[in-house]
């Protein structure tokens, strides 16, 4: 069979064939993921720097972020660029220290030369892309009004690459890239530490990105101050930046001090450190109190959207997980009909949102005779307007005079929350059930021999061992609520106004409104992305302490 055609193949050739086959396997997925998963992130940031309705208009810097976040955008971008600069500086410093302290490696300093060129190449590529994109995206506009023939668009596309500014940026990029490759080859032949060269490149790349971002931020800040001066006002942007940064710096210091205080053996030193920490927190509070003023010029609708999103998440995630855990724990005992129950609980999760949302909006109809109004009537509650009710539940329960922070989510949002819990509880059940199955049974036996009761076993054994599953579910659920769209979009009613418009809905409205602004929508989406990343990071930090990976 195969052995008849056996020929010894060189190892090199085999590796080459394996590589080529792998790339062929990956190519379709790679192209699509790049085009619709990776590139859009950069593209969204790019769009958010322009005034961009249907087509790119003019470059406006960070104005869209100013519109969304008010003066806080300055603080934020200042921090971001500073972080990139510090990170790059730290990388560079570590590299230099290592080179200098290792004898006989002084020559390695030369690696900074190809490092600079290699770091410049990707930045120049981004610049080329930045010049090219508006030209390309404007092709449909340039063709407007002309008698369009087949192939005209393609011709325009090829012509775009020969636009003078595109050509210039492209030539510089290609030149530097070529130089970088040559230098890299030369240096890796000559000196034997390629790793040092890549580290230098990474450090310089971070520094370069930080510098560009800082330039962008400073330009925006200066423009804002100048325009305020023209209007005869003063903008205390720098004061704000310094105050808020100092506030958060103090907060971080307090956190660190508190950690140290807990590790102190003596009471007196503990009290001393704890006192300093508490003072730092107070100082931080005073400084961060500036934050509301900084956010005063932010987009009100967006802040409301975030407020609603946070309430939505806060009221959804805990219930969803608690119900899921309870059902999973009940199911985990060897019962008859376990599979049937699991299937039933899982049903709401996979059924189309549209169909089940319609059912819920009829169940929670505002009519006096609707099913839910009958149900709450049996407990003695007056019929409610449910999805048509924009007022907060706090206000409905406690009356008109309730303080604003107690109004809580609107009744309409509560219905959406109930719907979401109903949908996802079954998913949590299934995942928890699998997590329970992974806990080794010997542990239960050991606990039982030690005389632990049912609740004790649950509290001290099951919950800690289940924490990775719980962590995963919390992460998925929080991100899910921050991204939720379909159920909210369908359950929106004109009567309930914007009381269930989360940030996602607000972003979507930016592009479907009569006067769409893609750039502002993209800026908002970026802000939301940042918030989700921050949440993931914070949850990871907390989980690092609490999650017990057996």
């Amino acid at each position: 069979m195969a052995s008849t055609s056996y020929r010894p193949i060189s190892r090199r050739r085999r590796v080459l064939v394996e590589n080529l086959t792998a790339y062929a396997f990956l190519l379709p997925a790679g192209v699509l993921i790049f085009l619709f998963g990776l590139f859009p992130v950069a593209f969204a940031f790019f769009v958010s720097l322009y005034r961009w309705r249907r087509f790119p208009d003019e470059y406006v810097g960070l104005t869209n972020y100013e519109r969304a976040l008010g003066d806080f955008s300055h603080v934020l971008f200042f921090w971001l660029s500073l972080a990139a600069l510090l990170y790059g500086g730290w990388l560079l410093w570590r590299l230099l220290r290592q080179i200098v302290t290792t004898p006989g490696q002084r020559r390695a300093l030369l690696y900074l030369i190809p490092g600079v060129v290699l770091a410049a190449a990707p930045l120049l590529m981004v610049r080329w892309g930045g010049v090219l994109l508006p030209v390309i995206m404007n092709i449909p506009r340039r063709l407007r009004g002309q008698q369009e023939t087949q192939g005209m668009f393609v011709n325009e596309l090829f012509a775009s690459f020969r636009f003078p500014e595109v050509l210039d940026a492209g030539n510089v990029m290609l030149g530097i890239m070529l130089l970088g490759v040559l230098l890299a080859l030369l240096f890796t032949r000559w000196l034997k530490h390629a790793a040092l060269m890549w580290r230098a490149t990474a450090a310089l790349l971070a520094l370069g990105t930080g510098a560009l971002l800082m330039q962008l931020t400073l330009d925006t800040i200066n423009a804002a101050i100048a325009s305020a001066r023209e209007a005869g006002e003063t903008l205390p942007i720098w004061t704000q930046i310094i105050l808020i940064s100092a506030g958060f710096g103090l907060l971080g210091a307090a956190y660190w001090l508190w950690g140290r205080a807990l590790r102190q053996p003596g009471d007196r030193r503990f009290i001393g450190l704890a006192f300093v920490a508490v003072t730092a927190v107070l100082g931080a509070y005073l400084l961060i109190a500036e934050l509301p003023r900084v956010l005063a010029s932010a987009d009100r609708d967006m802040l409301t959207g975030f407020n609603i999103t946070i309430m939505y998440a806060l009221f959804t995630v805990p219930f969803q997980l608690a119900i899921g855990l309870g059902l999973a724990y009940l199911l985990f005992q060897n019962l008859k009909g376990k599979t049937l129950f699991r299937m039933i609980f899982f049903l709401p999760y996979i059924m189309p949102f549209i169909a089940t949302s319609i059912v819920f909006s009829l169940l929670f109809s505002h009519r006096q005779e609707s099913i839910i109004n009958n149900l709450v009537g049996a407990v003695g509650i007056a019929p409610q307007k449910w999805l048509l009710e924009p007022l907060g539940v706090g206000r409905l329960i406690l009356g008109e005079s309730v303080p604003p922070f107690l109004t809580g989510p609107s009744l309409a949002l509560i219905v959406v929350i109930i719907y979401t819990v109903w949908t996802y509880a079954g998913y949590a059940t299934v995942v928890f059930l699998a997590g329970l199955g992974n806990i080794p049974g010997e542990l239960y036996e050991a606990a039982r021999i030690d005389g632990a009761g049912g609740w004790q076993i649950f509290r001290r054994l099951t919950l800690p061992l289940l924490s990775p599953t719980t962590f995963f579910l919390v992460l998925v659920a929080v991100i899910g609520t921050f991204q939720a769209f379909t159920q909210l979009w369908i359950m929106r009613t004109p009567a309930a106004g914007r009381s269930i418009d989360t940030v996602s809905i607000y972003i979507f409205r930016q592009i479907t409104d009569a006067d769409p602004s893609y750039s502002y929508g993209a800026a908002l989406a970026f802000v939301l992305f940042g918030v989700i990343l921050l949440l993931t990071f914070v949850q990871n930090r907390i989980a690092g302490r609490r999650v017990f990976y057996g």
């Binding site: 699509l32 992130v41 129950f341 189309p352 169909a355 319609i358 009829l362 109809s365 609707s370 379909t486």
Partner: protein
């Protein structure tokens, strides 16, 4: 003696057993209560789809006389036939494309050695983090532009907007599916590959005749995920399709409920039942493997 201990350990390993029977009864009561809450809306959905509109508004639980005429009425009034056909076409294309693209990619990541594998895999995992809402606007702009480009090359039929490419191509390569499949492929014993090589099989044949037949469960999970998201899609079709010729069932139902027949509650419910019907049927046939797949994916994180 040792056997006895082992046996006991195994029974205990199954679950923490409660000794008292009352607990079992309470457990069943709670589970049945949960099941009623989970199923209740579905039962009422079916029952109210057989009522008259007045009966639904009156908050009746069951119809006096079931009206089966509601289903054909809803089918015709909401033009569900067309929307359903659109969704079937789009879903079939998406699922087929997803399997064709993701299975080889997952196989390459799981069982092949090539330059830059770990970096590429890391980048792919990072894209899972990006929320759909962040890529919505740039992807829309990209698709509008690609539509013009493709129209210019292939003529009217090559358009992406108001056509199947805009609805399917962006959703064919799902990093999460690739990740899921890779995890499974990587667990297959290495001896299989050695044996296949000795028989003279290359990667393509090994994938086709060994890996895929052994991976029915994860492939089914991935296909089911793709099916669900494609059948439920609403946000993206709202943006890229402006004609009924390609509008999906979710859109059709939403339009029917909000603007065409806001007061014909019985027809809305009948339409909703018709929309979930294909999903229910599919779920009952695949539920075991599908639920397992989801549970496992949750554990791996």
């Amino acid at each position: 003696m040792a056997d006895l201990a082992l046996e006991r350990a195994q029974t205990v390993a199954r679950a923490p057993r409660r000794p008292v029977r009352w607990n079992t009864i309470l457990t069943y009561a709670l589970l049945i209560f949960g099941a009623v809450l989970a199923l209740g809306p579905f039962i009422w959905m079916v029952s109210s789809s057989l009522m008259s509109s007045a009966e639904i508004a009156a908050g009746r639980l069951f119809p006096a006389v079931p009206i089966f005429q509601n289903y054909p009425d809803a089918w015709n009034a909401a033009n569900l036939g067309l929307f359903m056909w659109n969704s079937v076409r789009v879903t079939a294309l998406t699922v087929a494309g997803e399997l064709l693209v993701c299975v080889p990619a997952a196989y390459a990541f799981a069982r092949m050695r090539f330059f830059g594998r770990d970096v590429l895999f890391g980048i792919m995992l990072a894209t899972i983090m990006v929320p759909a809402i962040a890529t919505l606007i740039p992807n829309f702009l990209t698709v509008v532009w690609l539509s013009r480009l493709s129209e210019s090359i292939f003529g009217e039929a090559g358009k992406w907007m108001d056509n199947w490419p805009a609805l399917t191509i962006p959703f064919i390569a799902t990093p999460f599916s690739i990740f899921l499949l890779r995890q499974f492929f990587a667990q297959l014993p290495a001896e299989l590959w050695d044996a296949a090589r000795i028989d003279g099989a290359g990667h393509v044949r090994f994938l086709r005749s060994v890996v895929i037949p052994l991976s029915r469960a994860p492939i089914m999970t991935v296909a089911m995920f793709s099916f669900i998201s494609s059948w439920n899609a609403l946000m993206w079709p709202l943006l890229v399709v402006q004609t009924d010729a390609w509008r999906p069932i979710a859109f059709g139902l939403q339009k029917f409920v909000n603007s065409d027949a806001p007061n014909e509650l019985h027809l809305q419910m009948a339409g909703a039942v018709l929309m979930i019907l294909p999903m229910v049927i599919l779920y009952f046939f695949t539920q075991k493997q599908f639920t397992e797949g989801i549970a496992q994916s949750g554990l791996k994180g």
